[in-house]
């Protein structure tokens, strides 16, 4: 049976119902994260600015960020993945 057919012969109904059942599982897959994201937004613990001790500049601002993200433009004199530097600064080994 070709795709995008509006009506079809009855012998294909079982497969079509199977396909719709699969689509329902996909719909649940969309609804679940929607629900737990909304739940976390309302009841979740505040994560803080950098919960994973990441090294990127986007993690150095407060969360949520202020209107103009940074007070002064940061000068980057370290490597992009210098996790040791973060460990030295925070005392936490990620």
């Amino acid at each position: 049976m070709p795709r995008r057919y509006h009506s079809y012969r009855p012998e294909f109904q079982v497969l079509s119902v199977l396909s719709t059942a699969g689509a329902s599982i996909l719909a649940i897959g969309y609804l679940l994260p929607t629900m737990y994201l909304l739940w976390s937004l309302k009841y979740g613990e505040i994560a803080g600015a950098n919960p994973c001790h990441a090294v990127g500049l986007e993690w150095t601002v407060q969360s949520p960020p202020p209107i103009e993200n940074v007070v002064e433009t940061p000068i980057v004199d370290f490597e992009a993945y210098d996790y040791d530097r973060v460990a030295r600064l925070t005392g936490v080994i990620g």
Binding site: R4, Y5, H6, S7, Y8, R9, P10, F12, Q13, S16, V17, S19, T20, A23, A27, Y30, E45, I46, A47, G48, A49, P51, C52, H53, G56, L57, E58, V61, Q62, S63, P64, P65, P66, I67, E68, N69, V70, T73, P74, V76, T90, V92, G94
Partner: protein
């Protein structure tokens, strides 16, 4: 990353969400994070419409007879789903939501290079979306998907032009957003 998890965090007292109040401060905002929120809520809104179309497309073949929607509506649902999901969800969610919000933060900038153009691009996008939705609910376009791009039957020139114009407005509105971000 275990010991730091237990400490309690609080929200900063002043941030981009509560720094200014009122309709004017939001509708004329130049802050890239607020504009990213505009894009986020717009795309969620159209995603619900496009998702409903997809659900109807899949529910119709539950029975062999075409009884849930007419064949004409079925074709229109395909156009609606395809155009909305491609041009009003996939395109803006990358540059409009994620790029807008994250790139200035990632490069340590105070905002995008051209904040007014950034706001203008959202308005252009929203106008394109309104024209598209009007076209769909005022008659619809039954070219299906992906023929929405290339095949215009003679009798459907006007809805097709509406649709073509509005999704181009939507897609091109990402251009001024993308330029200052890059």
């Amino acid at each position: 990353m275990s010991s730091a998890q237990s400490q309690l965090h609080t929200l900063p007292a002043k941030n981009y969400l509560n720094a200014e109040y009122g309709l004017k401060s939001w509708s004329l905002t130049l802050d890239h994070k607020r504009i990213a929120l505009f894009y986020l809520f717009t795309t969620i809104f159209v995603c619900v419409i496009g998702g409903t179309a997809a659900a109807l497309i899949r529910l119709e073949p539950l029975t062999p007879a075409g009884d849930l929607v007419s064949s004409d509506t079925y074709n229109k649902l395909f156009s609606m789903h395809g155009i909305i999901m491609a041009f009003f969800l996939l395109v803006p969610i990358a540059s409009g939501v994620l790029g807008n919000c994250l790139i200035p933060l990632m490069i340590g900038a105070k905002d995008v290079a051209l904040p007014r153009i950034n706001l203008f691009s959202w308005y252009l996008f929203a106008i394109g979306g309104c024209v598209e939705l009007y076209m769909m609910f005022a008659g619809g376009l039954d070219t299906g998907w992906p023929q929405s791009f290339c095949h215009w039957p003679q009798s459907h020139v006007f809805p097709a032009i509406h649709s073509w114009g509005s999704w181009h407005a939507a897609a091109l509105s990402q251009l001024p957003t993308g330029v200052p971000g890059s």
